[in-house]
Symmetry: C2
Subunit: 237 residues, 2 copies
Amino acid sequence: MENDKCVVLLSGGIDSATALWWALERFKEVHALTFTYGQRHALEVEYARRLAEMAGVAEHRVIDLSILKDIGGSALTDESMDVPEGEYPPRGTISTYVPMRNSLFGVVAGAYMEVKGITDIVLGVHASDVPNYPDTRPEWASALEALLNAGSSLAFDGKRRIKVHTPFVGMRKADIIRLGLKLGVPYEWTWSCYSPKDGWPCGRCPTCVQRAEAFRELGLPDPLLLRLEKEKKEVET
Amino acid sequence: MENDKCVVLLSGGIDSATALWWALERFKEVHALTFTYGQRHALEVEYARRLAEMAGVAEHRVIDLSILKDIGGSALTDESMDVPEGEYPPRGTISTYVPMRNSLFGVVAGAYMEVKGITDIVLGVHASDVPNYPDTRPEWASALEALLNAGSSLAFDGKRRIKVHTPFVGMRKADIIRLGLKLGVPYEWTWSCYSPKDGWPCGRCPTCVQRAEAFRELGLPDPLLLRLEKEKKEVET
């Protein structure tokens, strides 16, 4: 393989965890980046740390982008806005979308890649999010790749192409989990919920509903809930 | 005019100051964004504040992006690297290039625009910087525009196109100043130097050399130096 290093954007959720294990199969040296941005569900960052450790990445960097909270415009960063409940709407940006968040993550990753001389980046974007999050669409990933190439010295001086990998672009959540189970992703250490309470998912926000539906479709219990229930019992006895 | 608001990226230098006065002629409401990122020449931010005040912008936001210093890779943010002296080299990225800086500025501006409902952004990028800074090229500006449209809810929900204006894209520094003098840009309050000392420009770094050449070409003294000399005399007498 020409390029043996990559960066994975790791939120701590199902998709990015699967992207990380997907990358481990393909690249010799995997770097993971996680972002804190004043998100309600900062608990996901602790899950990301655990996942990065379990994956044995070359480097896991947790980067502060609280500018996203300062700029606002999202229920994920603005406590005065409510997180919606129930299924995702069929089409349209949802209040849990964070303006330009994924573009910002991609560009900061681009700076990291440039300094480290890494040309490959893996994103866990997928079809289930496309109707509600503009910055998960295939055309968004292509535009990010074009910007990373146009604005970086890697391509300018070295004629090295930056490649944005989106292996799950045509897949739904259940398909991703099916693949991830084969790859050995520890889903008991992935976090999705936007409104965690005492370390438990709420079960009502759109990402909880989407996650539950995906495991139901596969006929499997959610390994995260199994683990939390087991830990609870251990404490009680 | 359909769109009556815009954002200008204002560093405090000649190009962005001229972009600001250019925007004042075309938009009813002008917002300015300035970034601090651990740059050596943080003095430029004070100049940007003064310019924004003189221009009477609707809002001037100074945003911290010290993540750029943390990631490093540039003589502008890494004190252990020397700022080069003399003219810009004919071609190739220079050490004063900051990895992904302008892309990051553009995307953060995109988040601000999305929250404010602004679809137009003005950048002072120009031909004199193209050989040495990949993120000032016309193809970079086009790629930024494509990403802002692909990754934002403005275009996704509202079908509103985001437009990146680069009025100086084919112009050299002297051409920009010639235009700016007609627009009334107060060049005595613009800052370029990468290595300021006691409030004075060094006169040796590439951007000082480029600035001096531009004023020489126009047969004019640099208004910044005139002002600093005048102030110095006033203090002495």
